[in-house]
């Protein structure tokens, strides 16, 4: 699976409060949340983003609140993938669990510029900056996490294991 899109670039410690502020957390549908994605950091993001676009950020992306509304909003806004050197651990889990591709790659996060066109291969972790021609290699996921992603998230993984026996 591959994605190609225009890059929206942000700094270090992008927290889930700016990704989706609490004043919108009385909503829980992804399409509703997407309307306010990044509003406190980049108020015009929603108007500018196109399906397939890519978010590139600094360290500790998604820190703070555990709200899964944050990866939900990013995914529903059309973002195909987030690239950062490190992710806050709850955001990391949430993104995997609900099927938002994320890639850890410090080199790409440093070199790719806002507005560049980037191509990402989720299978191999290869990242190509089409604007500059530079290539990067993201860290591969451990096999267990790949299994969850192949099952289209944690729910699919649990269903595949036949957890329905509690019913």
């Amino acid at each position: 699976m591959k994605a190609t899109g225009k890059v929206f670039k942000y700094g270090d410690n992008v927290d889930t409060d700016v990704i989706i502020p609490a004043r919108y957390l009385n909503l829980s549908e992804a399409s509703q949340l997407a309307k306010y994605c990044m509003i406190d950091l980049d108020p015009t993001f929603v108007q500018r983003v196109a399906p397939g676009d890519i978010m590139v950020a600094g360290t500790n992306f998604g820190c703070g609140s555990s709200r899964e509304h944050a990866p939900m909003a990013i995914k529903a806004a059309g973002i195909s993938c987030v690239i950062a050197p490190t992710f806050a651990r709850i955001f990391y889990r949430n993104a995997i669990n609900m099927g938002l591709p994320i890639l850890e790659c410090a080199e790409a996060a440093a070199a790719v510029a806002d507005g560049d066109t980037v191509e990402v291969d989720f299978e191999t972790g290869a990242i190509v900056d089409r604007t500059t021609g530079k290539t990067f290699q993201a860290l591969p996921f451990p096999p267990f996490i790949r299994k969850i992603m192949e099952a289209d998230g944690l729910v699919g993984y649990i269903r595949s294991k036949g957890a329905g026996s509690h019913g």
């Binding site: 709200r67 889990r93 729910v155």
Partner: protein, 432 residues
């Protein structure tokens, strides 16, 4: 290989003799928690799992505390959705506003005897790490993990490595666990413990009350930590005797000690006697500055409360500073007890009366202003000294508002002074 406290607890819950950092395991859960914000999406995911009933109706706890009492129609609809689910599932530990067990989730779970040493707990709230104060492994997760935890009673974890904080000495007057954890976050940064455990050890632990330990473990997430954890000592057992007598007498808990030769990625020695009164400046909890090292900063609001500092000892300290004084003209001082039990105790001890006479707002328990929900939202340009846990851009309101994190003594003294101040500046005596 020797194990840390966290690794031992995780190994036991995964049915393994040992685990190593980086290992992926599936662990059984003693408690699964959600609130009124994170539970609604979790219910959609739970439905998608195809599971009809939660794994244990006594071990799934839902606390509608963030936007309650319901702040608007949409919040009311979300609260209704989880209320109906909780009833249909027969959840034993679902609480409604006003019930004696109700309040802010991380205040009420220990208070209601639902947490004990050795437990593995996940909560769809990042401050679930609070329960590490009792020697449990507790960590925040999202709504999908909560849903799958409710369905299966298990969760996957990557076994964390650890950073050890060797606490020595005794805190100075007015310095609390809040100052200690803000100091530590200032030292290691907001991602200083990313993916790792923060294990607090050393003789200094005995100098910290259980409520201070709850405050410190609560903020492990603000250093990026997977969990924060304290060893179990006499104070822990006395706390259990008071709040979890059933589990204590039934022996339904497990004291875990780190191996003497357990490996830590780093060890920091923290001399508690050298920790000053700390404020974390906007807009990161790691922007820690010692009181007295910056020019006067005027304020508009003070918030005392939250899952970090909403316990009875916090209320008593607030009273010791505000009693007989007045909140400065032009400042709103909002005090929010963390639970109905804390609220009632404040009434019984006359704390409520003293705070109201001082000119403070005394509110029903809620997370409210901490996350910019309701009950104290800031306008553009306004500044607040708050005993809460985050000071991100827009956290308590307008993107151009500012939150300064502090302990209760500084927050209460600042309310009186009208600018950021310590208790000494306003002549507070307090308990020596």
């Amino acid at each position: 290989m020797a194990m840390t406290m966290t690794q031992k607890i995780l190994a036991r819950h995964a049915g393994l003799d040992k685990v190593v950092p980086g290992q992926l395991i599936e662990a059984s859960l003693d408690l699964v928690l959600g609130n009124d914000i994170t539970t609604p999406p979790a219910l959609d995911v739970f439905a998608a799992t195809g599971v009809q009933k939660v794994f244990d109706k006594e071990k799934v706890v839902i606390v509608p505390d963030h936007f309650t009492p319901n702040k608007d129609i949409q919040s009311a609809e979300q609260a209704k959705k989880i209320r109906l689910f909780s009833r249909a599932q027969g959840l034993v530990n679902y609480y409604e506003q006003g019930e004696m067990e109700m309040g802010i989730e991380h205040v009420v779970l220990p208070e209601n005897g639902l947490v004990a040493p050795g437990d593995v707990i996940i909560g769809a709230d990042s401050h679930t790490c609070t329960y590490g104060a009792l020697g449990a492994f507790a960590t925040g997760v999202g709504s999908t993990d909560m849903a799958c935890g409710m369905a299966t009673g298990t969760a996957w974890f990557r076994v964390p490595s650890a950073i050890r904080f060797e606490l020595v000495g005794k805190p100075s007057r007015w310095v609390t666990g809040k100052d200690v954890i803000l100091y530590i976050i200032g030292k290691i940064g907001v991602d200083g413990a990313l993916y790792k455990s923060m294990e607090f050890t050393g003789p200094g632990v005995a100098e910290l009350s259980m409520e201070e330990r709850l405050t410190m473990a609560n903020m492990a997430i603000e250093a990026g930590g997977k969990n924060g954890i304290f060893p179990v000592d006499e104070k822990t057992l006395a706390y259990l005797e008071k709040y979890a007598p059933k589990r204590l007498t039934a022996g339904n808990f497990r004291i875990t000690r780190a191996d003497d030769d357990a490996e830590y990625e780093e060890t920091h020695t923290i001399d508690l006697s050298k920790v000053p009164l700390i404020l974390s400046f906007p807009h990161l909890p790691s922007n820690a500055k010692a009181l007295g090292t910056f020019p006067e900063i005027a304020i508009d609001q003070v918030v005392i409360g939250s899952c970090t500092n909403g316990r009875i000892s916090d209320m008593r300290v607030a009273r010791s500073i505000l009693k007989g004084r007045k909140v400065a003209k032009g400042v709103r001082c909002i005090v929010i007890p963390g639970s109905q039990k804390v609220y009632l105790q404040c009434v019984r001890e006359g704390i409520a009366e003293d705070l109201v006479e001082a000119g403070a707002v005394f509110s029903a328990p809620t997370c409210g202003p901490c996350l910019g929900g309701h009950m104290g939202i800031l306008a553009s340009g306004e500044r607040c000294v708050s005993t809460t846990n985050r000071n991100f851009v827009g956290r308590m309101g307008h993107v151009k508002s500012e939150v300064y994190l502090a302990g209760v003594p500084v927050a209460a003294a600042s309310a009186v002074a009208g600018h950021i101040a310590g208790p000494d500046e306003i002549g507070a005596e307090g308990e020596a």
